[in-house]
């Protein structure tokens, strides 16, 4: 990762600099873009994605001064994104115990970007995939996304999730098993059907 990117992001955390000035200089765009991509990968397309990115960005800006370079910056920010998402999910579970959302407020479908380039069948498959992923426990879901969909190795996933490598492998095995069961029911993923 480019060192100037880290430096410009670190400027945001300097107490002497007003955050607005540092942000205005545009040095943090790469960090925000990285956080957005990572949050989008882990959380999927959803209505409150911007809120999650903002929460993760605030945490990242605070934590960046403590970044010692022992892992890559991408792994470091992935860790922040992972914890932000899990905290939000925990909060939301507690929220749901007390309150129930009005049916009109529930998003009826995932907010995928509308693009003519995207094959409709792939779009449909992606929707079903996210629906299947939502049925997995949150740690297993994140492990599967990071390893299988984002292509990170087990060691990085262990660093991000703060778990043992064996735990990560175990989570992966369980997640594969569950996901395979779900996808087996879905004709869209049938390997006999032509792409």
């Amino acid at each position: 990762m480019d060192q100037s990117f880290v430096n410009s992001a670190l400027e945001l955390t300097a107490p002497s600099q007003p955050r607005e000035d540092a942000l205005a200089r545009g040095g943090s765009d790469e960090l925000l873009a990285l956080l957005y991509r990572q949050m989008r990968a882990l959380a999927g397309p959803r209505q409150d994605l911007d809120d999650l990115v903002q929460a993760a960005a605030e945490r990242a800006l605070k934590a960046l001064a403590r970044f010692e370079g022992r892992s890559s910056l991408s792994t470091f920010t992935y860790g922040i994104v992972y914890r932000t998402l899990l905290d939000q999910q925990r909060w939301y579970r507690r929220f749901q115990r007390r309150f129930s959302l009005d049916a009109r407020e529930e998003p009826d479908e995932l907010a995928f970007p509308r693009s003519s380039e995207t094959d409709l069948r792939e779009l449909q498959r992606a929707r079903r995939l996210y629906a299947a992923l939502d049925e997995l426990p949150k740690e297993k879901r994140a492990t599967l996304i990071l390893h299988d969909l984002e292509g990170l190795d087990v060691a990085d996933v262990a660093t991000i999730s703060g778990a043992n490598e064996r735990t990560v492998r175990s989570r992966l095995r369980d997640a594969h098993k569950k996901l395979a069961e779900i996808l087996r029911q879905d004709p869209l993923f049938d390997p006999e059907v032509p792409v």
């Binding site: 955050r19 607005e20 942000l23 205005a24 943090s28 765009d29 925000l32 873009a33 956080l35 957005y36 991509r37 989008r40 397309p45 994605l49 911007d50 990115v53 903002q54 960005a57 605030e58 800006l61 995928f112 970007p113 693009s115 995207t118 094959d119 792939e122 779009l123 498959r125 992606a126 995939l129 299947a132 299988d148 969909l149 594969h176 098993k177 996901l179 395979a180 996808l183 087996r184 869209l188 993923f189 049938d190 390997p191 792409v195």
Partner: protein
């Protein structure tokens, strides 16, 4: 996982990659995030939080232990004659401490007046004496006309009296109330004086004051090893149907009397 499962997973990965965000979407999201991050957030400063904590701490101390607050203020307040005599301020010069103490007592009295107290009348009698002694003027200080009013005056009226007391520090000392005398005598440990003040109160026209004074005498006598007289007083209180908590206290005293 079987080969078919792997093929399904491969399709899932392809679908996932196909729906990754485009640059335009990321840029728009970055702009939104920048806007929300540059928006100033109102956060309460540590100073105001600390101030609230200090006020709460002093308030609860004043409510729970008014004497402790008075002592603290006395210690903090400057010494008489800028260290000439080295003596702590008393009387008129310690007016702030007395005011703080009396304000705390007034608050307590007000809360007692607003909520029905579970204290018994025996305790109430002692409270009356102590509050009256607090309302009584220190040497060199004066008491307001309200404070020297009749002893049977309602509790709710006391705060006005005790709050007004430290403002007229230049006036000459006046006679204390009978309950004030009882309180002062008890504070000095002068039982004889306390008993004589209570005896005077026992001759009051107000039956409730009489009953309270008799109960106080009985309790004082019992505490100082004169059970016969104490029991006689307690018995008379139960016979005359003093009523309520006074009678219950008298019955409690009678339990320790020989039959």
């Amino acid at each position: 996982m079987t080969a078919a499962d792997l093929a399904r997973l491969e399709r899932a990965v392809r679908a996932y990659k196909a729906t990754q965000p485009r640059d335009a979407e990321v840029n728009a999201a970055v702009r939104r995030a920048r806007l929300s991050l540059t928006r100033p957030k109102r956060r309460r400063s540590w100073f105001s939080k600390g101030l609230v904590l200090v006020v709460l701490a002093i308030g609860s101390l004043a409510y729970a232990k008014p004497q402790a607050l008075g002592e603290l203020l006395e210690r903090v307040s400057p010494r008489d004659g800028a260290g000439k005599s080295g003596r702590l301020l008393t009387g008129a010069a310690s007016a702030p401490a007395a005011a703080a103490l009396q304000t705390a007592k007034a608050l307590r009295a007000r809360s007692k007046a607003s909520t029905p107290s579970k204290l018994d009348d025996g305790a109430a009698t002692a409270d009356d004496a102590l509050e009256a002694s607090a309302a009584a003027p220190p040497p060199g200080a004066a008491v307001s006309p309200e404070a020297s009013a009749s002893p049977a005056q309602p509790r709710a009226a006391e705060p006005t009296a005790v709050l007004a007391a430290p403002t007229k520090t230049e006036a000459k000392p006046r006679a204390t109330t009978d309950w004030g005398r009882v309180g002062q005598a008890l504070a000095r440990g002068d039982n004889g004086e306390a008993l004589s003040a209570l005896s005077q109160l026992a001759e009051s026209d107000d039956p409730r004051t009489r009953d309270k004074a008799d109960l106080g005498r009985a309790q004082l006598l019992m505490a100082h090893g004169e059970p016969e007289e104490a029991c006689a007083l307690a018995r008379s209180l139960t016979h005359r149907r003093a009523g309520g908590r006074i009678e219950r206290q008298a019955e409690l005293l009678l339990k320790s009397c020989k039959r």
